[in-house]
Symmetry: C3
């Protein structure tokens, strides 16, 4: 490959990653709004039919342990999860708010799959404790599939938390 061609290929890669990054930011803003608004039943629609979803600790992730607080394979399991939470979340009213920063495209595969990470913070506010607190902080490790009509769907999202305030019996999606 000539110098010229190599430079152009690098510029093309940068442009593709920029475009992917901006699309992911828009996806995540919608994703977080659905969770912040408590519209849990809409949450599975951000995933492909066969998607993998997990929330796991940094320690477990670093040691390759296939465990997690929430472990879903396929959109049907995500729907079951959402339904279970929607039914029980009457108890202990609380507000959650997601913040995502540092979106980073780590690769675009030949088939179009975009590999990316993003840091997240989850702030929780309880009715009986007006002072908000840091519920969860960590990193999402994602795989996005571009869709025919435009837009993206997640084929895999692993939320790796550094910190988790309360190891709840029923963990909410992030």
């Amino acid at each position: 490959m000539s110098m010229m061609t190599g430079e152009r290929a690098a510029a093309d890669t940068r442009a593709a990653r920029r475009e992917a990054r901006l699309a992911i930011e828009e996806f995540n803003a919608e994703y977080c709004a659905v969770l912040d608004d408590g519209d849990l039943m809409d949450w599975p629609d951000f995933f492909t039919a066969e998607a993998f979803y997990n929330i796991t600790s940094r320690e477990n992730f670093d040691h390759g342990r296939p465990v997690g607080l929430v472990y879903c394979e396929g959109r049907a399991m995500l729907r079951d999860r959402a339904l279970a939470i929607a039914k029980t979340s009457m108890f202990g009213p609380r507000y959650l708010r997601h913040y995502m920063a540092n979106t980073r495209v780590t690769g675009i595969e030949p088939g179009g799959t975009i590999c990316a990470t993003v840091n997240y913070i989850l702030i929780e506010t309880l009715a009986e404790l007006p002072e908000g607190r840091l519920h969860q902080a960590g990193r999402m490790i994602d795989r996005f599939e571009p869709q025919p009509g435009g837009g993206l769907l997640l084929s895999s999202r692993i939320a790796v938390y550094d910190t988790l305030l309360v190891p709840n019996a029923l963990v909410l999606p992030v």
Copy 2:
């Protein structure tokens, strides 16, 4: 409308929202810098002459109660507010820092008005308490008006907080 035209219209909408989102992010970075630097008298310049501004709790907002910690109609009221705070903020020196994430364009009206939301965090540091704390976390619900020379102005900003650390007598703008 033919399939072709429909697809192109959807792509146009996406492009317009992308452009609006990036412009809003730049607007908000300037907006936050002015508040973080304590340049309160410059704060009303981010609004149109007739702008509406309010800071209200998520509970009040969800129930449609027209109340708020700060309730301003028109830039003149914003100036009065800024002046009142500038005069009294000598008491209890503190630093504030704003963080905005998840900018989301929810619509662009035929007249050009951009409807958008963004999640915010406000960190407060008191001179006598070096450990920073989460002062406020919530969402902005905004209406932006594109200006002739380029750039945007807010015709409406409602800061809906999930959490508020101290219900101060004199609340600072966010």
Copy 3:
């Protein structure tokens, strides 16, 4: 300068700042990932050979005091710093996570140097204290140098913190 030319110049400036802002966001996402992953020895590679790096309090910065928790002139000093920390960080395992928001390009100099600021949050999680806490919050004041092959390097980064949780003996870079 005619009205027309003036308007075009303003639009060109806006476009250049937009491009610079997006490039900086991508730079900072990589920068934070290296620190979050604990790859300290890769950290100096984000700086030019003669770069200046400092972490200082808002109070010291506002008073123009040339002091700081970390004060490095040149990449060699950054490497020494990274090495010193890498050797000692065995004690007290902890996770750190950086969040950057409100990237703001404040100017582009004729030589190409980009002046910019960004707000940052650093969340710390200790093994013995699973609840994450706000370790540092503040603003970066940066100078970026565009590189021949594309990409940026920092010729100056001053981290001005509002708040610092623990005045550690050996402060980690942010």
